[in-house]
Each structure stands twice: as C-alpha cells, then as structure tokens.
C-alpha cells in the first residue's frame, strides 16, 4: 500500500481534532511529518521521508501514532504530555497496566507526569481503554 504524506492543512486539522478530544496542545506534531497508510497515521522526521532507498527492503519509517482513528499507545506516550493527565501512584499505575480499574477519573492516565495510555470509564473508575 502506498504512503500518502499529509499536507500542512490535513496535519493541522488532525492536531485540532486531537486537541479538542484529548486537550492536547495543537502543536503536538511540531518538527514531525505525518504520513498515512490505509487506516494508520505515522510520524517521522522530515529527513526520514526524503531519503530514497532504491532496492532496499524497508520495514517501517518513524512511529505509528494513530490507528483506526485512535491514537496508539506509543503515540500517546511520546506526544500527549501536554494533555490533561490523571496522575497515578506506582501501585495504581501497575494495576492500570494489568487492566484493573482504578478509583480515579480521566481520559489519559499518567505516571511521573508522563502519559501511560488512554483510559475508559469502568465501574465508576478508570481502566485502560
């Protein structure tokens, strides 16, 4: 499947959507180029996308940040530091990673103020989405 590099308008629109939905900064993609393959959005440095590698088997370029319209866990962990985060204690963070429900509320769980993963509401608390 061929990759399509997002132009600045599409990139800005995507950033605005994420800002609206998750409270993340609108310039979360600063310094990165985005490209689309099917239902996936990948982020990469500009230089990664301008290199021609004829005859070389390319496995991937950059980092997958969106899949099926949702941010991936690695995209969240790298780019969502500016979002509204729900900070977890070490014990809560370990339980959250294991898939348990935590007695807190929020869209994005964090540990040491670093985003961990998206959360969903479950049994009056939050669990890994």
């Amino acid at each position: 499947m061929k990759a399509k590099i997002l132009n600045s308008r599409d990139k800005k629109r995507l950033a605005l959507n994420l800002a609206e939905e998750y409270g993340v900064s609108k310039d979360l993609f600063a310094g990165l180029e985005l490209y689309q393959i099917g239902g996936e959005i990948w982020a990469a440095s500009r230089d990664c996308l301008t290199r021609e590698l004829p005859g070389v088997r390319i496995d991937s370029a950059g980092l997958q940040v969106m899949r099926a319209g949702k941010p991936t866990i690695h995209g969240i962990q790298l780019l969502f530091k500016s979002a509204e985060l729900t900070e977890l204690t070490p014990e809560e963070a370990e339980a959250f990673i294991r898939g348990e429900t935590i007695g807190k509320k929020g869209l994005i769980a964090s540990y040491r103020r670093h985003p961990l993963a998206l959360a969903k509401e479950k049994d009056g608390g939050m669990a890994r989405a």
Binding site: G31, S45, C48, R51, V56, I58, I97, L116
Partner: protein
Amino acid sequence: MHLPAELDGSLRLMLGGEYDGFLECCGKKPRESYRVNTLKAEVEELSDLAAEEIPWCPAGFYSKKPLGCTIEHFLGLIYVEDASSMLPPEVLAPGPEDTVLDLAAAPGGKTTHLAALMGNRGCIIANDPDPRRLKTLRFNLNRLGVANAVVTSSDGIRFKPNMLFDRILLDAPCSNGGQLRDNPEALTTWSKSKVKRCSELQKKLIGNAASMLKKDGVLVYSTCTFSPEENEGVVDHAVEEHGLTIEPVNGCYKKHAGLTEWNARRFAKGMEDTVRLYPHDNDTAGFYLAKLRK
C-alpha cells in the same frame, strides 16, 4: 569460571598481571545500568533511580536496583543496557542534521541512543538482516518514541542503499567473549574457528560500511569480544584495505589501549588509540571500540 584454553591463554597474554583481577570480576554479575531516554524525559527527573553516573554517557547511570520490569521501562523513559553499550553512540556523536547508518541495529539500544542524541531529527537507517530480531528492534524504537529511524532488513554485506552517510555505527556480530559475565553459556560456543568466521564476516561488513561513508565521515566499529582477530585485526583491514584512519577516543575513564601487535603481526599505526574495556576496568561487560574517519 572456566575459560576455553585458547581464550584463557590469549587473555593471560593480553592482561599480564591484571589477569587475576579480571577473572575475579568475571565471576560476578555486572552492575545494572540504564540510560535515560532524553526523547521523553529529563535526566534529573529520574535521578532517584541512579546509584552512580557512568563517566562516558551524560544520560547513563548505574542503578540502585534492577529496572527491567518497572513502569519507567514500560513507558520508555529508560533503556536498560550494559554501561559499555553506551560508549559507541557517544563516540559516534551524531548531529541533528546527520544521516546515520546503524548497520547491525537489533535489538535497538544503540539506535535509540543515537535517536536521542539527534533529538529525533535527521535520519537513521536502522538495518538488521534477522526478521526475528527486527521485531524486537521495532518494539524498542516504538517504546522509546523514535521517529527519525527507517528500519530496513538487508544483509549487511550486500546492503547498498545508493546513498552516503555522515556517520556509521557497526556494532558487529561477534563471538561474544566479552559477554561472559552476563551469559557464561556463551563460552560453550566459543572456539577459534568461530572467531575466524566472525572475523571474516566483520571484514566484509566494515568494507561495505566504508564504501557507504561520506568523505570525512566517521565510522565507529565495536564488538563485545576480546579476540584481537575480531577487533584490531578488523580495524587494521579497514585502514589498510579501505583507507580509513584511526582517531583517538577521548574520555576520562579506565580503559586499555588497543593492541599494537598480536601473534607477531604488527597492526596499523594508531591502533593504540582504539579502546579495550575489560570487565574489571569499570564493572561492565568486555568491549572493544574504534573510531575511524574516511
């Protein structure tokens, strides 16, 4: 610890009076160490994990406890690796606009280190021929948030991307003698014939790497073995056959100079500027490193 007779004889010759200290150190597990992933975290914010700084890496620390199963690891805030593995990227010292080749990249510790030094800018071609190891490489690049790497899967000898690189890291596959503290079983597969096979492969790899290096570009060659045939012998080949020159590796830490001769064979001029790290030098794995310029 029981070393194969030929390896034991070589090490006694290399180390002289230091041999007993070397052997005693090899009987102990190496110190746990980690590198803060500066693409995601500041060095200071994770200082509570650190026991001591690693002198050749500003983001590297010996740790107070094992960190492989922690949330910090899960989040990609740190990369757990032997302290010696932090040396090659620091010596290669890529800039944010560079085009860099990591010819044998898996599992990705050094690639992620290069990406951090480049601030996720420029471009790293991270190549590894083994599909199983490629999966681990991809996972680690994702976990640490690396966005400036293109992962490729080619045989390092035949890899011809039709472009030249500012900097190349060749952390070559080797007979693994330097890993004996972490993995004593590696010694069961060590043999002179394996060393010879590895040395032949390494010469081909460094030859191909040299052909892809820009004029004035830097190539760092490293292994985790003590065998001169896989270290100074390969660097000698790069100097004599491919016209690279050896540059000194600076830094204030305990190290041994590369061997200037072995088995009555004199190596190329400047070989003493390459670096041997023995386990008892800094409580690390055994390691060899050379900085070369085209």
